[in-house]
Each structure stands twice: as C-alpha cells, then as structure tokens.
Subunit: 365 residues, 2 copies
DNA sequence: TTGAAAGCGTTACCAA
DNA sequence: TTGGTAACGCTTTCAA
C-alpha cells in the first residue's frame, strides 16, 4: 500500500476565495445556556461558578441545561477576561531532535504533565529557540500570554533568554542549578554531591587509584558540577590518585570517542566515571572493541539511571536522578507562583541515590 | 462543599482587600502602540498584518514603535476574535506514566513539535484521560477551543472518545490504523506488512520452522496487525511450520513472562518474534536466565527500533517504525485540516524497514 | 435574587 | 489613507 509522493511536494495552494475557510461548528456559549434556562448570561456565569447569590433552584436548572447542551467554557474568552491563561509552558531551549533524544526529558515531562493535569492546567511544550523576529519562540509564547508561566529545562549556563525571563519577572521555574541567578526559583539535584558519591565509591569501596572522567558539556551546569564532584572526591580521599578528563556532549557517540581518548592517553586506567549513562554506554562499547572486559579490566560508572543503565551488560553502576519528581516539583512551584502565593523562594534540592550494579566491579557489600 | 446555615460558623472569609492577588506586569497592547505612533488601534492592527491600505511610512513607524515597546499580540484576544486558537494538541489517551515510558512517544513528540513550531503553532500535550466531570481532560481542551485540533496517538481499538471526536467533526488526525473509522484521517505504518517482512526473514533466510510470537495487547490495532502479519508470513511460506502465541503489554516485564510461557510450552522453539523491542529484551533476559544463548539456541526479533535495540547484546533484529516522521505527517495534515484546505483524506501509510542485526542468527547475504 | 452593561485585546467592517 | 465602532465569550460591577 505505497502511496508514492506523500512528501511535501512543493504545491503551495493559494487561499482560494471560493473555499470557505471552515465549517465552523456551532459552539455552545453562555448565551445559549442562558436562553435555554430563560435567564441572563451573567446569572449563568454566576451559577456555574457557584456564586451564592444564585438560588439553588436556578443553579440546578443551569447545571442541567449546561450539561444537556454540552457547554464548555471558551478558554480564550476566559483568559482574555482574566488577564491570564491557564496553561503553563515547558520550555527546552534546544532543538527538538537533541532534546527528546535524551530520556531525561521524557521523565521531566511525565512529572510536569502529572502535576499540571491534576491542577487543570494545560501544558504547552516549546522546544526550538528559532528566532523568528528576534524574539525566541518560547519568549513569544510567554509574552503573548499563551502560557501564564514557564518551566525551563536544561539551559546552558550563559543562556541570555533565561536571565531575561527571570528579569522580566515572568513566572519562571528553572530546572537545574543556576548559581549566577540567585533570585531565580529553581529545582534541581546536588550533582556535585552525586558525582562525589559515586567517585568516592570507586575509590573507597573498590580501591581504584587511576581514574578518568568523561564529562558532559562544560557550559552546562550539570557538566561542571559532576566534574567538580569527581575532583572533590579525589581530593577528599586523601590518597594519591591521578585522573584524566575527556569531554563529551552526553551522546553515546561522544562517550565512545572520549573513552578512546582516555585509553590512548592513560592505558592503565582502572575506572571511568561518565557524566551520564549514555556516554558510559559508549565507553563500554569502545572498551569492548579494544578487547577490554568491564569491569575486570576497567570499571565503569554512569549517571542518571533513566533506563539505559538497566539494559546494558553488565548493569551500569550509576546515580539515580529523580527526574520525574523534578518535573512535579517544578510544576507545583510554578503554579504557586502564578497563583500569587509565593512559593518557598530560591533553589530546592532533591536527593540523588547511588545505584550499585556490576560495572564498577565486584560488590564488597 | 456544602454551605448550609450553621449557627456559629457564619464566617465565610472575604477576600481581604489588602492582599493583592498578583503583581500584574503592565503589558503592551495595540492601544499602547497606537498611542505611541499617534494613530488608531485599527490602523496599527492593519499595519502589522501587512494590509496594503496602510502607507509605507505609517507602517514603518508602527513597526518601529511595536518593536520599541516590545509589543506581542495577546493570544487570547486573537483567538477570541478569530474564533479559533493557534495551538494544536497531542493527545495520548493513557496515563502519563505508562505513556512516556515508551520511547515511541518521544519520537512522535519530536516530529510533532518540529512541524508545529515551524508553522508557528503552539503544542499542548494532554495525557491522562482523567474524567473530571464526565468529560475527559482532552475533550475539554478541544471543546474549550484551547486547541484548534488534535493528534491522537495510541488509542485502543474501541476507544469511544476517539470515535466521538471524529464524529464531532473536530479536526483530528489519528496516528495508527483505525479500520472501523473509515472516515477518520490518520497516519500510520503497515504493521501487517512489517511483521510479515521480519517473520518471512526468519523463515526464509534462516530456515526456522518452529516459531513463536509475543504479541502486544490485542485490543490495540498494532498488536492485532503485527500478530496477523506473523501468521500471514507463516501461511505464505508454504512450508510446514508451527507456532505459539503469548500475549504481552509492550513492557519488558511482560516480554519476559511471555518468553517463559513460550519456553515452557514449546521447548524446541527456534525463533521468537516479539511485537516490540522492549518485550524482545525481556525475552532475551529470560532466555539468558535459562542458560539459552541468543541467537545460537533461540533466535529473537523485535519491532520499533527506537533505540533500545541498539543497546542490547546481541543487537536486536527489528523493524524500524518511522515514528518521528509519523509525528511530522500527522501535524502537517492536522494543520491543513484546521486551515480548511482539505488534506488528502483517509489513511496515509509510511514505509517500514527491516533492520538486520545479530539476534536473528548469522547473516546469509 | 436577578438583569443589564461594561470591558478584557483583537480584528473586520463601514465611514470619513 | 485612516479612524471609529462593533463583536468575539466571559466575568464582574452596578442597578433593579
């Protein structure tokens, strides 16, 4: 059942004047309900909003009629009148491809949608920072009041748009740590701690001394923090240990390349800590390709635990980031913010958890 | 929330005049721009929309002022006036958890957002079918005109809401095949063909004769079609072959359970075709747990190729479903539909592709 | 207890 | 070439 050229075939049909734009289904408004009950629009509005000034009998009649006619309040009318929308936006300042490829966003999304739906707020997803007229797509979403506020995920350290949004006092909750935006409301995990935790495990529980780190992009705070946690654990161990750094971009491919670089420059490396699981998996492939066994010849650890780590062989020791709860928290704080009730200000930190599997070497319980 | 006549309760907290509900940033409207330029609102509106009736000089002044003041059209006002929103909705009639856990939706989302953003349409994501007042959450989104139309993904075969939406002549594009909704506009792949393709490969290229299928839920069309393709290939091969069926729910765990069932009932099974990769991975685990080697002792094939299959050892032979392009196509057709230009009606089919890796046995090409 | 009217920001139509 | 005015659907205030 092939269908030949279903691609965009360069047929730009002009809007013919003859073609009526849309069938325009008849939509039920307050007016219709009012007419059905035989009272005024305003009375219907008040009845539906539970205003005590409307008699119980009238309200009952209104509810019956509304239900009967299938009345649903028009969100544009309501938003216009209220001066604010009931939607919130999840903004990811990256191109769609790169973004959702990472399981992190899936988990965030689950958390955000759960909370938003629960509170009857619609969720808009905005990804590409396409600058249409000098204004980024997501800035437009907010400035046009299509969304009452935004959750911003995974912004680069120097992202000007984020700073601008925070400054513009648009309700914004950031996911991650933004040390240079102290007034921002944000939700994150302590990556320095998490990285130190797992690195400490490699050093103390397994006794590795020659370590390497495959970092994420160092213009993202997570990349910076995980690297710092790694070094901190090395420093605190008080034992002589050397290390190497290779930088990746959180993709499997970059992890593989970084591992190659490490193995070339530090042939006797004992353990490698990658800043996320996908890079760790790339590192695993590279080690295998060179005939090295994991963990016998070289131990491996990752970060995130978003599912990939369960699938590898051996299972990947990692740090679990509660991405779904991050999303929930962020949505809750944003909705509070929009509501006017000031949420606890500043940066909220959710705990991470060390997940021991087999890639770091034999368990010592 | 009863509100009866209590004796001493009598205090219904009034909105305190002191507490200001929201800071309410001053927002730039058409009026402000008009005042700045010294002309009327309507002239500004026309100037901005490129109406030729406005002189070049005036338009230039308007554009300058709008840019200067940071004017952004209010989407509620515009939607109200236009009688339709500029957003579209991606609806997934499942609970959030289950939904995004599956990588399929990530890919869909990438495709949909790409097209939507490109065409300046905002995307709302609606997941849970929580029935708030007898109306499902996503029906509300549409009926309230928050979104002008919807893409519905992964609906069960008998989903009444889908049929209702199609009947209500709300602009809707379905993803998948819906044989019982012939008038619906939908985009999908030919799962019967895909399943027959991969099963045929197992039979013809590898010579397996004792086969089993781990199906998806048989109340979803994909589950039905993939099973049918499997049987069809068996039938068409013209060679004597027997098979077993075990039903799963697309989760890794169910795949594992199904594999156990198969191995118990058909000890000499040669090849197992699972209706998605995650179940195939579960099957892999079960086979391993029983000391069986893949593909030496039992061959394995999956379906989808959303990334999991690359990570397993051995790599999983599978059928690639172009989920991202499904999302793109669906968004394009929906936007056409909303626009009034009728898109090619009926069901569009995108091609699937057989991806050979190692789990099906040694390559013979 | 209810009705009438105003206004939110935008755009389309009709005057000027 | 422009400006006024009305209307979209909703909520709220004032008047009855």
């Amino acid at each position: 059942m092939t269908r030949g050229a279903w691609k965009d075939e360069a047929v730009v049909s002009l809007p013919e004047p003859g073609a009526k734009p849309k069938p325009r289904r008849r939509v039920v408004t307050l007016r219709d309900v009012a007419a059905a009950v035989g009272i005024s629009q305003s009375a219907v509005s008040m009845a539906l909003s539970g205003n005590p000034r409307i008699s119980a009998a009238t309200r009952k009649a209104v509810l019956a009629a509304a239900s009967e006619l299938g009345y649903v309040p028009n969100s544009a009318g309501r938003a216009l009148r209220a001066g604010r929308s009931t939607s919130i936006a999840l903004v990811v300042p990256q191109t769609g491809n790169h973004v959702f490829g990472h399981p992190y966003f899936m988990h965030l999304l689950v958390g955000v949608t759960a909370t938003a739906n629960q509170q009857d707020a619609a969720l808009m997803v905005s990804t590409s920072p396409d600058e249409t007229h000098g204004v980024t797509a997501y800035e437009r979403v907010l400035r046009s009041q299509a969304a009452a506020g935004a959750i911003v995920a995974s912004a680069a350290v120097g992202d000007l748009n984020v700073a601008r949004m925070v400054d513009a006092s648009i309700p914004v909750v950031l996911i991650g740590r933004f040390p240079h935006l102290p007034t921002a409301i944000s939700v994150g995990v302590d990556d320095v701690h998490g990285a130190a935790l797992i690195t400490g495990h490699l050093i103390q529980a397994h006794g590795y001394r020659r370590l390497a780190h495959i970092s994420g992009p160092l213009d993202h705070q997570t990349g910076i923090d995980r690297y710092q946690g790694f070094r901190q654990a090395l420093g605190e161990s008080g034992i002589p240990a050397t290390h190497t750094l290779a930088t990746g971009d959180y993709s499997e491919e970059s992890g593989r390349a970084a591992m190659a670089q490490i193995l070339d420059s530090m042939a006797d490396v004992q353990a490698v800590f990658a800043a996320n699981d996908e890079m760790a998996y790339g590192a695993l492939l590279e080690a295998r390709a060179r005939g090295l066994r994991v963990p016998e010849d070289v131990a491996l650890a990752g970060y995130d635990d978003f599912g990939v780590s369960r699938l590898t062989t051996p299972g990947l020791t990692t740090v679990r980031v509660p991405a779904e709860r991050l999303g929930q928290q962020a949505a809750e704080r944003l909705l509070q913010l929009i509501d006017g009730s000031r949420p606890e200000p500043g940066h909220a930190v959710l705990p991470v958890e060390l997940v021991l599997r087999d890639s770091c070497g034999p368990h010592q319980s």
